[in-house]
């Protein structure tokens, strides 16, 4: 085996959101815990204890509320400030040991272990121990010659936690064969439910069968993405490490309302708030938007009358000016607004994003005036200093009745100086 053969590790935090909540609530370590989606809608994270009680991902909270209480399950609203901070700590801890790291999601990172001295299993256990010690997060680690195999190894580390201590090295051919033969295609990275159903109809049920199909046939029947997956399963790296997050091609802010919105005035407030948030993201990646979409909709569930509509808005020039965009969004909203519905959601989608300085209009195309640039710069500076909603357009309310429900939220232990963990000296 060549020493330069690419090697990847996938580091995955076990029940990440729940582990974050438990870090500051030691009494919950043996207690089943679940975390709910925005608006306390449904279960999005659960500990193994909660899983053992039959609680499923996606279970609507209002339906299982009483059952949770009866079974002694503790539920939390999602506290993204906390999870974001701990995720960044985990990532920086991994980076203190591994030279190249890709943050794949809030609770998963790929590390490039190519060229790192053997034994790699010990190295992975060192990462695991340091993340545990520095951040309190339990992690599982899978090692493989491709990212897809590293992901499969990590899956195995979770499945066979007792035997493996949460670290699985899947570089040996016989280990790959052993595992892939026991792995349904649906568990393979990049194979969704729909594809796995089609594969099954074609007689392919395990990852091992998938790895042994002809890549060219797969490409013809399923496309290039699954072909890449097949090649990766055979140990041929096709998906490289992405260290920097690519700039987004579109920016979306949308959220379910905590309470249904029935008046145009309240909807205006909501749309203005989402525009505030969207333009912050836009300016952060130094882009301008040339087209955006405003959408409002009622809940698809329940008996009430249903309505959903959206409108495309074209500002006079590519812009990141929240005032101009909010005005345009208000005009768009007038067009699609209908009285008499109980709206559950609004959405702002900024599209046709252009990087500042990377596009050239013709001589007669107006561009954003310098004074808007200045105003936005000052706005962002103030909000960095005093909080992200300190200064905003007048359309956006200070306290909204439709705002997200987060009734069972833990404190922002690590991101707010007024909510720090309290240690008793008594």
């Amino acid at each position: 085996m060549s020493p330069k053969r690419p090697t990847y590790a996938l580091v995955d935090c076990n029940s990440f959101y729940c582990s974050c909540e438990r870090l500051f609530r030691p009494e919950l370590r043996q207690v089943p815990v679940v975390v709910l989606s925005n608006n306390d809608g449904c279960v999005i994270a659960r500990t193994p204890e909660a899983k053992a009680l039959g609680i499923k991902m996606g279970d609507p909270f209002f339906k299982i509320r009483d059952a949770l209480k009866a079974k002694g399950v503790v539920a939390f609203s999602s506290n993204y400030e906390l999870y974001g901070d701990i995720s960044s700590r985990v990532q920086r801890t991994i980076e203190s040991l591994a030279p190249r790291v890709e943050v794949y999601s809030i609770d998963e990172s790929f590390a490039d272990l190519t060229g790192i001295a053997e034994p790699l299993g010990d190295f992975a256990r060192q990462i695991q121990a340091r993340v545990r010690s520095w951040t309190g997060m339990p992690v599982g680690i899978g090692i493989g010659h491709t990212k897809t195999l590293a992901k499969a190894a990590q899956h195995a580390s979770k499945l066979y936690k007792e035997r493996t201590g949460g670290v699985v090295d899947l570089r040996a051919d016989h280990a790959v064969e052993w595992l892939l033969k026991r792995m349904p295609t649906q568990e393979v990275w990049g194979v969704g439910r729909r594809i796995s159903v089609r594969l099954e109809a074609d007689g392919v049920t395990t990852a091992w069968q998938l790895a042994n199909t002809d890549p060219k046939t797969i490409r013809q029947r399923y496309g290039v993405v699954l072909e890449r997956t097949v090649r990766e399963l055979t140990g041929e790296p096709c998906i490289e490490l992405q260290e920097a997050e690519p700039d987004r091609q579109a920016i979306c802010t949308s959220r379910m309302f905590g309470e249904r919105v029935t008046t145009l005035e309240a909807m205006r407030e909501a749309v203005a708030s989402y525009m505030h948030r969207a333009t912050q993201k836009l300016r952060k990646q130094q882009s301008l938007t040339a087209v955006f979409r405003v959408a409002v909709l009622t809940s698809p569930f329940g008996d009430g009358p249903k309505y959903a509509n959206s409108v495309m808005c074209y500002p006079p020039y590519p812009t990141d000016d929240v005032l101009l965009l909010t005005r345009a969004a208000m005009e768009g909203l007038e067009v699609i607004w209908r009285d008499g519905y109980r709206y559950s959601k609004a959405e702002i989608l900024l599209m046709d994003l252009r990087k500042r300085g990377e596009f050239t209009g013709d001589l007669f195309t107006p561009s954003q005036p310098a004074r808007s640039d200045d105003l936005m710069r000052v706005l962002d500076l103030i909000n960095v200093k005093f909080g992200k909603n300190a200064l905003h357009s007048g359309r956006m309310p200070i306290d909204a009745t439709w705002a997200m429900k987060r009734e069972m939220m833990s404190r922002s232990y690590t991101t707010s100086i007024n909510q720090l963990m309290r240690f008793k000296a008594l």
Binding site: S96, G357, A425
Partner: protein, 143 residues
């Protein structure tokens, strides 16, 4: 000359470009301090606040007051250090978060003591779960 592209400067780009130009063109006497520029001093750097293993907490109570840790004192907690006898630590005792000094009993077992003699030490613990070692404390002295 290698011409890469030629285009009209947009109005929004003008101020930054002008700033660059004016900065380069300044012809006055160079600042004598320019060579001695240092980044502003930072408490964050001093206590290593941005390290992934450093956490903040707050004190409730006065059992550690002789150590300068008063009610409301902010604590800088390092989870990368191995706790040593004599360290001020934050720990979970019966699931309660506490701040105490890590000590040895005469029989060799661990105990957590308070610097304030009014509070008896916590002894007879089978194990102590240390959350982290307190490296700095910060107290407000104007009410």
């Amino acid at each position: 000359m290698n011409l890469i592209s030629l285009r009209q400067i947009t109005e929004s780009e003008l101020p930054t470009l002008l700033q660059v130009l004016s900065g380069r063109a300044s012809g006055g006497f160079p600042s004598p301090a320019a060579d001695h520029y240092e980044a502003p001093i930072s408490l964050d750097d001093l206590v290593d606040l941005r390290a992934p293993h450093v956490w903040l907490g707050e004190t409730e109570g006065d059992s550690m007051s002789p150590a300068g840790i008063l009610n409301g004192t902010k604590l800088v907690i390092d989870r990368a250090r191995t706790p040593q006898v004599g360290n001020v630590v934050v720990a979970y005792i019966d699931n309660q978060p506490v701040v105490k000094r890590l000590d040895r009993q005469l029989n060799g077992g661990w105990m957590l003591s308070s610097d304030n003699p009014k509070y008896p030490p916590i002894q007879g613990l089978e194990e102590i779960e240390v959350f982290g070692v307190v490296t700095w404390s910060l107290t407000l002295h104007v009410p």
